[in-house]
Symmetry: none
Subunit: 428 residues, 2 copies
């Protein structure tokens, strides 16, 4: 009988309920299984409550082929996992000789005596099969429970990670491999509803068996192409081709690619280098560029000129220009850009000056106003934008737009796409 | 009838199952509810699968007084939440006038036209009550379903956070609230087990009714002082006084205070200003300083000198020094500091040069090596540290240590506390 869910996770521990611990173990398990093309269908998380634990285990065993329990394998009283599994399986807890061997070897390596707390960890449900823990004292085990394969794993991430290869092999043997094939694309400057509309308008061309999914973030959007039938795997390429046609200039790359990495690739391809002249972003653009490994190939120097004095002394913006037009103005960002290009010797650059807030706005230039200039010595432009939202959002978006405008220039893509139009200041 | 669980969470989204996204939203919800002394009893996480979603919702409604659903409120086809809730509640999906108003206002603020995808978000179960989303387009709602109060919330963290005060009030009204009085302190450079030991050693002086809690992050640690009995509220002051005595130089401030804000306050108090000369952190230190509102009072300019050429041309590090000692060396960071102080006119500064990795290491200077110089024209020092871990962790920790060493100098605190000692390179 095929069940609704291949693999379910039961995560235990009060710290997961209080919010003090973010659950990263289920990501580790899901990623390890994904490499075997096996998906996790359902997760239940409960505290150290025997009744909730056993109710949840019963429910998951009824609906999943494999249940992986994470946590509750330690030596203390709130470690309930072995008890609960034995209880639900209708087995007695018995001393497990191999588990005792494991604990003895573990203690010996550390020059410790085996104490009664440790020995509690060797009390396993009758018939349980050990899952090796090459690192820690916790004893993982596997047992058939109500028609499901139940495996227990420790909550300590490094121990869990060490046990995952064996766990994955056992899961793959049980369920057979091959479900979800997911390709992720990173997107900037277009929203999910717009993408959905563009795709809907071409629904005849959308390939069979490919599901489109989204995950929004700031500043990027992640788009996912999922295929459940291995025979239709190549259809992802067709979907990607269509997406390239529809929104190609917004696609940054695959997997976890960031805007700065897409920009770095573009610069390398064109043998160009970049500099930054930042006022209101205060070094964020340079920081995003240099967060990426390999950035020394495209970036030599950047300038954070927050004060007017610095704009003049560091980048050579004429004092008269600052006085006449103010720091947030077209002539100033153009002079900043020119100064940064000259001082750095880079081929392309960005200059931004704006009012991040919460203070510093005026009727004429409210909080959220930014002047941005970008380009090369011979080909550059400047625009005034109005970015709504908090100081944090302002800085994140200005930095992202700055990187994207340069990327567009390097790759000869449309310079001012719709998302930038939206932010352009229009005098009323 | 009292149910087994007060509040249950139903978390939806394929990205939560694939392991690509670590679920931090349930921590946000749990923390917000904890301030009302309300606990989360059970969490179920499933992908965008209608059957699994509705089975899970039915089960949670039977066992919990309140079910908070997170995710699946967007405009696209994989956003199933409203459908599922309507289906389980036996209600029709209808256009919700207030939701349409909300979407119209949201689009207007962004200069967008309301499109059919967006309008899908206004289709809510009949009888649903809006939960205000002050930031995003997603429409949260509340509805009685099978004896439970179901509330829906968006997956975008910033939108969820903005909605939590109303959500918590509604939950508290439903289940009855205790009140927890929590004061949060931000800590840097000391771990929770060390703090716990220091406090344990003074347990006689620890005030009645105050519970100490922790939440670890990178680079800061949050410490919580919780009082459940309002009559004992003043005891938090005594606890804070004792903590100041024990670990005062590690306490940055209250609430969400960041290291850079604590540093800004110190600079303002002493009427000082700061500059940065960054190689391996690539602008991150300047970016952290300027992320804080008010930074223009203490920061005029910073320099990102990633290449050797820039260290020479921008900061005046002698070419001979670079050639003789290499970019990652004491003479180079001292010359960078001196150049930055001179060019900026700031009173204190930081210079860092190191190997963030993954490439660029050598036997002599492996990945993770960093030279750091900080101080004023007349009083400065330099140290070589070895920071283990990824490129990202290296940059975060170097930037944080850089800010902290300057903060310590400005405030006359111990210059090299234990945590820095730990990282100091000791030639073997």
């Amino acid at each position: 009988m095929s069940k609704r869910v291949q693999v379910a996770l039961l995560l235990t521990g009060n710290e997961l309920m209080s919010g003090d611990t973010v659950d990263s173990n289920s990501s580790r398990i899901a990623h390890a299984l994904a490499a075997h093309k096996i998906g996790v269908g359902k997760k239940i998380t409960v505290g150290d409550d025997p009744q909730l634990l056993s109710d949840s285990l019963i429910e998951l065993c009824a609906n999943a082929e494999v249940v992986i329990i994470n946590g509750g394998l330690g030596p203390t009283e709130d470690d309930l996992t072995a008890d609960i599994v034995a209880d639900v399986a209708g087995k007695a807890l018995v001393d497990h000789p191999k588990a005792i061997e494991h604990l003895e070897a573990w203690c010996e390596r550390r020059g410790l005596d085996l104490n009664p707390s440790n020995l509690k960890q060797a009390l396993l449900p009758d018939g349980a099969d050990l899952v090796a823990n090459p690192i820690g004292s916790a004893v993982g085990f596997a047992l058939e429970v109500n028609g499901a394969l139940v495996m227990t794993t420790p909550g300590v991430p490094v121990e869990l990670t060490a046990m995952l290869p064996e766990i994955c092999d056992r899961v793959a043997t049980r369920v057979g491999a091959g479900t979800a094939f997911i390709r992720r694309l990173q997107i900037f400057g277009i929203g999910e509803s717009t993408i959905q509309e563009l795709v809907n308008a071409r629904s005849d061309d959308w390939p069979e068996g490919v599901t489109l999914g989204f995950r929004s973030g700031l500043p990027q959007l992640e788009l996912k192409l999922q295929v459940d039938d291995a025979a239709l795997l190549d259809n992802r390429d067709d979907a990607e081709t269509l997406l390239n046609e529809l929104i190609g200039d917004h696609i940054l790359g695959n997997d976890d690619d960031q805007l700065a990495m897409a920009f770095q690739r573009a610069l390398l391809e064109k043998k160009m280098s970049v500099t930054t002249a930042e006022s209101c972003t205060g070094g964020l653009i340079a920081s995003l560029i240099t967060r990426e490994a390999g950035s020394s190939q495209v970036f030599g120097s950047g300038f954070v000129t927050y004060s007017n004095t610095a704009k003049n002394s560091v980048l050579g913006v004429p004092e008269a220009t600052l006085i006449k037009h103010g720091a947030v103005s077209e002539p100033v960002v153009l002079a900043m850009l020119s100064g940064a290009l000259e001082k750095s010797g880079a081929t392309i650059g960005i200059a931004v000056s704006g009012i991040a807030g919460p203070g510093g706005g005026s009727d004429d230039k409210p909080v959220g106003t930014v002047w941005m200039a970008w380009g090369t010595k011979d080909s550059h432009r400047a625009i005034r934008l109005q970015i709504p939202g908090s100081r944090e959002r302002f800085q994140i978006l200005v930095a992202a737009i700055g990187l994207d405008t340069m990327r567009r220039q390097v790759l000869d893509l449309p310079a001012i796409p719709h998302y930038i139009q939206r932010f352009i200041h229009r005098p009323s």
